[in-house]
């Protein structure tokens, strides 16, 4: 498969897309955040040199989950009062996207789904309340507010600068996981599983000094 290429409108470097349908990319050289209209890239902002939590994952990490291979092609970094976390954009070989969230070395793989019943409203949100999706019962275990602090690589949507995103995490009794993102109305629901890195058969991980 030949990869889609374009040039950075800011510095002229070649941007090579790992995923042909990526809506947003960032320039590895000047850290400009670029949006495609189609292959005319427009600079919409300047990313920080992502302060980036030192995840063992990186752009280009490959793995397998439930029989499908995936490649890590993008990343969103959030920051909240208790620290930061990354949402790695994983593109699967069946042409779907999933998010591998990496918070303090705890990993969760989720996909965007359409809620079947109304999600708890942000005002009524607190730990312990439950909601159902696809006949699975989720219990809210944490409520946080976070801000985007950077992006990297390719994303399936256009970056919008949201300073303060309310989030709720929910878990099931057997390792199922859901995140509700209250940045939009109605809120976005992501469901999936808590995973261990070793379950994902990862290749091309970062190295850590001394390990």
């Amino acid at each position: 498969m030949s990869r889609v290429r374009a040039n950075c409108p800011n510095c002229g470097a070649t941007i090579e897309f790992r995923w042909a349908q990526a809506v947003q990319a960032s320039c590895e050289y000047c850290h400009s955040i670029l949006v495609r209209h189609d292959l005319d890239l427009a600079k919409v902002g300047t990313g920080t040199v992502v302060p980036l939590t030192p995840s063992p994952l990186q752009l280009g990490t490959e793995g397998r989950w439930h029989g499908h291979g995936f490649t890590v092609i993008g990343r969103l970094v959030y920051r909240w009062a208790g620290g930061g976390w990354s949402e790695w954009h994983c593109r699967f070989d069946d042409d779907t996207s999933a998010w591998l969230s990496d918070a303090q070395a705890e990993y969760v793989l989720t996909r965007h789904v359409t809620p079947q019943e109304p999600l708890p409203g942000y005002e009524e949100l607190h730990t312990g309340i439950v909601f159902n999706h696809d006949r699975v019962r989720y219990r809210i275990t944490s409520v946080t507010r976070a801000a985007y602090v950077g992006t990297e690589g390719e994303l399936p949507f256009e970056y919008h600068d949201v300073a303060d995103v309310p989030f709720a995490d929910a878990r099931t009794t057997d390792g199922g996981f859901a995140t509700i993102d209250y940045s939009e109305s109605p809120p976005l629901l992501f469901v999936g599983d808590a995973v261990e890195l070793r379950q994902l058969e990862l290749r091309n991980l970062r190295e850590f000094e001394g390990w």
Partner: protein
Amino acid sequence: MSSVQVRGFNCPSCGAAIQLRGFQFSQSVVCDTCLAVLDASDANVAVLQTFDSKLRRHRPLLPLGSRGTWKGDPWDIIGFQVRQISVEGVEYHWQEYLLFNPFRGYRYLSEYEGHWNDIVPVRGVPSAGSQRTHPTVSWHDETFKLFQTSRATTVFALGEFPWMVVVGDTVTVRDYIAPPFMLSAEETEDEVTWSLGEYTAGERLLSAFKVEQPLPAPGGTFANQPNPRTGKPKAYWKGFVVLMLALVVVVVGRVATATDRVAAHLEGSFHPGNAQDKAPFVSDTFRLTGRTSNVELTTHSSVDGSWLYLGMSLVNDSTGQVLEVGREVSYYYGVDDGESWSEGSRSDAARVPAVAAGRWFLRMELDGPDQGREIDWSVDVHRDRPGFLWWFIAIGLIILPPIFVSLRSAAFETTRWAESDFAPKAGASSDDDSDDSSSDD
């Protein structure tokens, strides 16, 4: 891409060099020189808290920076905190160690009075329930019973943490146990996190982290310390069942092969006041067959508000061997203050062991009251009648070990639960299994 580098900086409070073993995963770090808590997530490393010199300093038993192989992976000990709870005005504190591996994440070790737990985060929410009235949670088909709810406060910290550690931070902790495991929920206003601890021998940690200095010996009984007799009562009761079945087989065999035959039957009447009836007399001879075994002399009488004494001698017709048995039957009854009563019995059975085969006769001598009604009596001579007394003694002997082991096991549970929120109070009854043994201390 280049590898992730260890980050180092100088403590803004005292200038000491600090290296982050947990890379930028670490959100906060405590300077081991001045004990200031620093914000490691910030490039400028702000001081979050300086050490209050009035506070007690604690020394980790396992040194920070140790790398060991534990449960198949390498782990660094990067953080240490001491947390404290207060129960009825008494303060208890324990140590917690944070272990880090950039590919495996975090796990924890805790130590309280020599008792260690190996703790991993739980990726789910155990479901709540109750056992009778005792609150429980279920996790992976295991039921954990609530042991204690407390407010735990961080009173000392050292090293790095993936969260903003602050001395004075307080969380609500609920500990549920299924020894050797313990599920703990730590709850703040915004977050509930669950972790699973497994009771672990301190020596295993010493060798894993190559620590030379010995650890304090465990004192008392810890919440999820495995009962040394776990499974033993069950095994002993299984053994009891096996022995009982064997006993039943033996008893059935004994009953099936017993001769159990009436070899002779005597009967007559005793007339009080008739001196002749008190004179000795003998029965016809009768044959006792089979191997040497017992003879049972069964007496029935019509005593009614009176008594009859039977002096019975089994006499061997050929050897002259005499086996004497003296028995009395008496039966009284009446009504006193509207209540009817009775005493004694009209019947009796006397067992003579080890009687050889051969021709025997009974020599009888009766005695009775001088007045009263005539007493009819009969004596049956049973050969080889299986008795049950020995079997009952055998049951008593084989039931003792399982009872003993069960009581010891229950006593351990009593000392365990005495430290919990569910300690059996004097006079109050609780719903706990260990109640059975509360008298066994």
